[in-house]
């Protein structure tokens, strides 16, 4: 197999159920050792796409190639390269963590007891692994879910909304864990999410899907204007403040509500603007950088046409 070949290759993938096209003409590639984000609002076709990637749903059209093997024709060879969690990590609650792992290990070849042990250590479940899964917290189930995905030493890990239902600490933990995995095991990760911020923090490249179609593929860095940040200003009186801000060349107002004004501007010039406002007798009651949302991004990408 070619070393430089992409781990996951998707070409012109479509799925039609009844008359409705849920996914249309999707194409992207995931390279070795890359964390690839799959971003889109709920109902955009993310889960359907992921289900096609792991062979749960038959594509209407198109091709999926994993590790060089076409998924449709060489299912066993292709799926052996994949570890996945589709939506929630649903494991058998009436079995222990270890029994769950052994259960799935029996469904593949070459999973040794040492490797199972190693994975349990990796996901830090050593202490509770022999307890029934129904006693686990959501975070522990998530980790056990990742453990079962790693059983087959996959080349690519496919995670569908892995942070769903996790608390902020759990999310941070997961993020660190995925980075560690990529770093230590050298595998690729494919993560879907509807939260832009999450993808920004975790991924190298991203494909954005909306209404079943890819609207953007590229590095995450280029996605959001890094030199400009969205800033929330609380001013008193607001209207005269808005006038002052609008006169500045490096400030681009985007949205105004009754209490605040949102603008795009470079972070390092906030102090300068603040001084100018104070000089003109306008009270600044609050300044806050705001994380851009997926909606903002869609506005940016499509010029406001596909507001979701």
């Amino acid at each position: 197999m070619n070393q430089t070949a992409p781990v996951l290759e998707v070409k012109k993938l479509s799925k039609q159920i009844g008359k409705r096209k849920i996914v249309e003409d999707i194409t992207f590639e995931v390279q070795k050792g890359e964390i690839f984000g799959f971003l889109g609002p709920n109902g955009a076709g993310k889960t359907t796409t992921i289900r096609m990637l792991v062979g749960l749903i038959r594509p209407t059209e198109g091709m999926i190639q994993i590790g060089g093997y076409p998924l449709q024709d060489q299912f066993i060879e292709a799926i052996s390269q994949v570890g996945c969690i589709v939506e929630n990590p649903e494991l058998y609650p009436y079995l222990t963590g270890r029994e769950n792992l052994e259960h799935f290990a029996r469904m593949m070849t070459g999973v040794t007891d040492e490797w199972i042990h190693e994975i349990i250590r990796l996901v830090e479940l050593e202490e509770r692994i022999d307890e029934l899964v129904k006693t686990y917290s959501l975070g522990m189930r998530q980790r056990l879910g990742i453990a079962q995905a790693l059983l087959g030493s996959p080349k690519i890990l496919i995670l569908d909304e892995p942070t769903n239902g996790l608390d902020p600490a759990g999310i941070r933990e997961l993020r660190a864990f995925i980075r560690k995995l990529v770093h230590e095991q050298g595998i690729s990760v494919f993560i879907s999410s509807h939260i832009l911020h999450e993808i920004q923090l975790m991924c190298d490249r991203v494909a954005i899907i909306n209404k079943g179609k890819i609207v953007y593929t590229g590095p995450v860095r280029e996605l959001v204007h890094e030199e400009e940040t969205r800033i929330e200003w609380r001013l008193d009186p607001l209207q005269s403040g808005v006038q002052v801000l609008k006169e500045l060349s490096f400030v681009r107002p985007v949205e105004q509500t009754e209490e605040h004004l949102y603008v795009y501007m470079p972070l390092d010039r906030i102090a300068e603007v603040n001084e100018q406002l104070t000089a003109k007798q306008i009270k600044v009651t609050g300044i806050r950088p705001v994380q851009a949302t997926l909606e903002d991004l869609f506005l940016q990408l499509t010029g406001g046409e596909t507001k979701s």
Binding site: V54, E90, L95, F104, M107
Partner: protein
């Protein structure tokens, strides 16, 4: 494949369904035993004498008198001779036919439970075998392994066959052990009449013969195993097609109960014999209980059950390996 079947057996055992079934048997068999003992006691009272040997001797004499009648057809004579043989065996071996041992209870129990009770137990296991994986979402983890879908399903079916056999076997063992406490554990060699045949609405007795009870029991439990396998296979298909375990069970219960009802309500409607669940009473062919529907024979019954099983299996495998998992 062995690993896959082991997986399924493990899940079945850990889900505690098999224990529930054993529990049901352990509770119900003593109740049936008590009921049977009560019936026998009442029957003894009606005869009026507590000495069963006197009754038996009188019966033998009555039948011998009938044999001397010249108007009696030959096949009837043969049948009566068998009856006498049976009763003489009871006398000689000091067996009270009204107070039989545990093997006789086993026989009666399986004859009564084959059409409803055993199928219900089988449905408890079979109905959620696939649907529980669908509704809990674990199917996604099961089908994203390097194993073909049909193999996953086959492993489930094989473990279902094991479980069904286990149910029939434990029914046999438990009904022997538990009823023996009241009836005693003897009676394996008791001669039992069998070989009845039906033709044009009349019961043919020409092939009737005596066989030891253990042999009869083997055949009876074998036939009920066959009936249970059919129930299991059809439930298995329902479990593949219906996502909710509760509705799957409901469908199967409705089907089995209507099979029983149809037999009782409209035996003249010949077409119902092609409905699998009217054919579960295979043991009737052994015991010679009048068969209600015209034209029913053991090969036909087994053929109908077999055909249903094959169609159910094909439907289950085709549907399971082709469908999109949207759950």
């Amino acid at each position: 494949m062995i690993g896959l079947v082991y997986n399924e057996m493990l899940k079945m055992v850990r889900k505690k369904r098999l224990w529930v079934i054993l529990g049901i048997l352990v509770i119900l068999i003593p109740i049936f035993t008590y009921a049977q003992a009560q019936t026998l006691e009442r029957a003894a009272k009606q005869i009026g004498t507590s000495d069963w040997k006197v009754v038996l001797k009188q019966q033998i004499i009555d039948q011998q008198n009938r044999l001397t009648s010249s108007r009696l057809p030959e096949e009837w004579k043969a049948f009566i001779k068998l009856n006498i043989q049976q009763q003489e065996y009871y006398l000689k071996n000091n067996i009270d036919p009204t107070a039989p041992g545990a093997p006789t209870f086993m026989r009666k129990f399986v004859e009564e439970s084959v059409s409803l009770f055993l199928p219900l137990l089988v449905v408890i296991i079979a109905a959620d075998l696939v649907s529980s994986e669908l509704s809990s979402g674990t199917i996604k983890l099961l089908l994203t392994r390097p194993v073909r879908r049909w193999k996953v399903l086959l492993s489930k079916y094989i473990s279902l066959l094991f479980a069904t056999s286990f149910i029939v076997l434990s029914t046999a063992i438990l009904s022997y052990l538990l009823s023996g406490v009241v009836f005693g554990y003897g009676g394996w060699d008791l001669p039992v009449l069998s070989g009845f045949q039906e033709k044009n609405g009349a019961l043919l007795t020409e092939f009737v013969h005596l066989m030891p009870q253990w042999k009869y029991l083997l055949m009876a439990y074998g036939l009920s195993w066959l009936a249970c396998i059919t129930v299991a296979t059809v439930s298995f298909m329902v479990s593949v097609l219906v996502r909710s375990t509760a509705s799957g069970m409901g469908i199967m219960l409705a089907a089995i109960i209507s099979g029983n009802l149809l037999m009782q309500l409209s035996p003249t409607w010949g077409a119902i014999k092609y409905f699998a669940f009217t054919q579960l009473r295979l043991t009737d062919y052994l015991s010679g209980r009048p068969i209600l529907i015209e034209g029913m024979t053991l090969p036909l019954s087994i053929g109908v059950l077999g055909a249903w099983s094959v169609v159910a299996l094909i439907t289950a495998f085709v549907s399971f390996s082709r469908r999109d998992v949207l759950a």
